[in-house]
Subunit: 454 residues, 3 copies
Amino acid sequence: MGSETKRWLRMLMLAVVVAAVWAPLAFGQEEAAEEAVSNEMFTVNNTWMLVSTFLVFIMHLGFATLESGLTQAKNTVNILFKNTGVVAIGLLTYAICGFNLMYPGDFNIIAGGWFGFAGFGIGEAADYVAIEYAGGNYTYWTDFIFQAMFAATAATIVSGAVAERVKLSSFLIFTVLYVGLAYPIAGSWKWGGGWLADMGFYDFAGSTLVHSVGGWGALAFVLLLGPRTGKYTAAGIRAFEGHSMPLATIGVFLLWLGWFGFNGGSVLSADPELVSLVFVTTSLAAAAGVMSAMATTWIVQKKPDLSMVLNGSLAGLVGITAGADSVSVLSSIIIGGIAGVIVVFSVLMFDKLKLDDPVGALSVHLVCGIWGTLAVGIFGPDAITDQGIGAAIMIQAIGVVAYGIFSFIVAGAITLALKLTMGIRVHEEEEAIGLDISEHGMEAYGGFQIFASK
Amino acid sequence: MGSETKRWLRMLMLAVVVAAVWAPLAFGQEEAAEEAVSNEMFTVNNTWMLVSTFLVFIMHLGFATLESGLTQAKNTVNILFKNTGVVAIGLLTYAICGFNLMYPGDFNIIAGGWFGFAGFGIGEAADYVAIEYAGGNYTYWTDFIFQAMFAATAATIVSGAVAERVKLSSFLIFTVLYVGLAYPIAGSWKWGGGWLADMGFYDFAGSTLVHSVGGWGALAFVLLLGPRTGKYTAAGIRAFEGHSMPLATIGVFLLWLGWFGFNGGSVLSADPELVSLVFVTTSLAAAAGVMSAMATTWIVQKKPDLSMVLNGSLAGLVGITAGADSVSVLSSIIIGGIAGVIVVFSVLMFDKLKLDDPVGALSVHLVCGIWGTLAVGIFGPDAITDQGIGAAIMIQAIGVVAYGIFSFIVAGAITLALKLTMGIRVHEEEEAIGLDISEHGMEAYGGFQIFASK
Amino acid sequence: MGSETKRWLRMLMLAVVVAAVWAPLAFGQEEAAEEAVSNEMFTVNNTWMLVSTFLVFIMHLGFATLESGLTQAKNTVNILFKNTGVVAIGLLTYAICGFNLMYPGDFNIIAGGWFGFAGFGIGEAADYVAIEYAGGNYTYWTDFIFQAMFAATAATIVSGAVAERVKLSSFLIFTVLYVGLAYPIAGSWKWGGGWLADMGFYDFAGSTLVHSVGGWGALAFVLLLGPRTGKYTAAGIRAFEGHSMPLATIGVFLLWLGWFGFNGGSVLSADPELVSLVFVTTSLAAAAGVMSAMATTWIVQKKPDLSMVLNGSLAGLVGITAGADSVSVLSSIIIGGIAGVIVVFSVLMFDKLKLDDPVGALSVHLVCGIWGTLAVGIFGPDAITDQGIGAAIMIQAIGVVAYGIFSFIVAGAITLALKLTMGIRVHEEEEAIGLDISEHGMEAYGGFQIFASK
């Protein structure tokens, strides 16, 4: 062969190699440029996110029944009213401003990932070519409604802690401000891509962003509100019994059910491996919380207390929420198991501190929310940083403290302003006759005399 | 002709033949390529429709708990019994004849889209090659069971309005006839492709076809049945208090939950953009209904009434049902908000008219069903006609009136026939001791004396 | 260039073209050969299985509310506590050993499909390349969690039958052993690919493997436990009324809801035709059970008993569970209808036999579980064998008897051992004051005096 021929051959061989290597790459890039995933994958991802949405929705019925079950019958209408209102307020404020505060795009008000706002209202469908919006994981509408269902949770947690003595109108105004402004601004720091996201802070589904934010708000409100009349006296601590343990149990099971969407939907796609792992860690953490709370209450209180066991399952669920996708199965059992122990002692501790919390919201959502957030540093540090467990825990602690300071101050300021103006507490006589009659002019069990009189 | 000319002619003739044969084939293939979906898309579509099916199913528990919560304890067993029976009757009659009356294929009995029947019973799987049945959206079985879950709703709405004095056996017979015959025949006019579909009448998920059909049936029955004994006296209107507001609240949340399937499933596929839009409009309409009913009851009745707020959410949901896929987000808030105002005044109005409706079914389902249907003409006229808002409202009004006349007359005829033969009302003593004892020989709260005696 | 060179060049150029066209195709085909389904299909299949998982989860709330509703108020806390504990125990024991006993891979302890164990604990995600695990139907995690949700059911059934007199600690230990060991070992015979699977025994979703296994356990426990004090006396049979029919009704509707996942998920994929058929047969069997139980109770007991009708729906559901995927629609109505008749007479029969079962668990789960299993032989014999109906029924009967002997003996042995050591029954005074006070030191309706005192 002549030299020219050899040159041709070398060029051709090179072409073969290039073609073999490059063609699939080019093909792949073309695919990526066209659509991140197929329309089928987009549809199943989006469907799963909508299923998760209705699961998170039903958590609000869980909160309503849990709170009313664990409190006195004379305040039941008021509690159901609050919880219904909170859902409506959460959805509407999130549409008006919350969504665009939490996901501002760029932080156009305080740079560095602190505060941004993308404007009032939510867009129209035509603005968003559906599949490109989130790499084929969900539509703009799904993004909004899934996150909107989360929003009301922060105020619902407060609702439980302040039950049986809070003034309805003040609580509703608190809800508008705390859910409509404080929650999404705080949320933007991590889920909106702000400064805590940059730092590596990890909170998969909201042990801190949702549960402890609600818990800190509850703490601030309770401190300014004071305990129920007659709760802490010289004679000791009066136990106000819950008026319906079936309602409370229904509440806990519905919350557990909803958590499959709360955590499962936080995968933000229907990814089979991740969503199914989250189902396993979530379920086992809850189960471990039940068993460890059962053992703890049986030992500490001599008899196994149902409300402690119910709170044990919620403690496990709150505890696993920050790391449900990034800890091992065994770790999920340990995290949930420890949460179930913590919650029992925490409930007893808050009573010693004379912080009156009728449903144990501070213990479940604040204390176990903090525990769950730190637990990711211990059991799944790789999700946070490659600098080891110590650094991971430190980063998580910074997030916990940052959310604590912000939430406590904002909730305290709102509550204080309300206390100084319209008041945050019903009159003592109103508390005595119950908020159902005093605030709503009706009873929860109006037909009751019919069977009580027999 | 020269040979060249002949060659030209032959080529042209060949072109005509090829075009005649090939064009439709090519067009058909193109259509098939566009319409026929992949097996994956078929599977996710069908899965979403089945999820919607179980969501609609749980609405029946919502109706059962709402109705029993808003009525007296002495009639609770009867109400739970009715609602359980209605679901069973709805499913079975829909299998026997309802499905084939509602979707008759061609209108073989009264032409012009008025009345058709495709025969008794539902087919066997082998008759239907699955993916072709509905363009890859769902199987024949899914089609049947999703629609069957809707069917019982019409009678459940009646159940609420006639509660606490209706005779059980007569109500069950009414249910068989109204759900098994009247509902599907009326439904065929629109969803079965009948004359109202031809006219452009729009009712996405059934503000009219389901809710107002149930509402008109309730109105006819209530007129023939009369109010509860002692309701309207010279001394004024007696308020029969609901015996359990927790049950009523559980009912409303379950209905809202189920509405995600009722409206979301009415997309008839898992189309991401449309289903997620429907989730948003449905949720925001319900939330707006809650808030506007809250404001209205607080102003009108001085104290915020929980049952009004609960009905406000249902009013918003019924209102958005006709146009959930074809109005803007802002419009959905307006539609739901107006429904929440309407329902409060409507409840007060029906009491002034001495039409006794223990649960407010007429206000929620009939009045807000009409409002929601007309609202599509106002806020989404393009879904109906390109002739402008006036024409759109007119078409919607024709549909509303047509369903009203048919439903009212048929329900009235059935009820009158029952009244003249076996009677439709329990004796006054039976009403006084309660339907639980008189109709069922048991109490809803039989274990009650144990804790009432302490 | 010489002609040889040109030939080389042409061959090389051809090779380039062939490589560019063929390589990706070949690669794709190879992929297809390895993976049964596309990633999209895998995702929708897995999503449906997870939806089914949360549906089965909510059945446990259904069992809890049904059982507490049908029993006395003084034992409500205890019942709710048991049911919460059973879920937690079921999930944890299934993770520790149950899953690996039920699906041992090979039967390494007693060969021939009798007993195998794949080791303690469940694996880590990295061990399983997701899509290959089950032919693209679900992940390892989904497999585990779906089956784990089933596991607790066996003990929950026992819980209902032994309610109001069983000792809490003994029942919890029984649950650990029966759910953690007996249930999965028995299950391996069929679903784990053991000897009954080899024989052709058919039990689609567990009429026998779940329901009658629970039922036999209940029978053994009840025989050793005895009836509630005062149930069967010389004066006759005392009816202990259920204390809340709304709770019982909520329970039945939640169980029916969950059954869409129990049966629908047992398809083990989202296959459109099969899952939708299962929805239809399951719904119609339940509806037929309601109507036939209604007719039977109305005729036999003169007045229509709500608890009988509720049990009628469960009877239909248990009855269809074994063959929901393999009988016709008409057959499903017949199977459910017969189950609804059976359950009424069975409840009356067990009372005649002085086997005290407060919720009718023996009738619903044991008797109708057997009926449903045999019914597959009658209405869907082709799913079992091609040897005709007689052979099919015989194979089903062998399975029924095998599960009966094993479950009854194991449950009896566990219960007897507990009876001889720590006791299985509370003291008579404890039973009189109620298990809520005696076992838990709290009441279910603690706030009650507030409205009872008016």
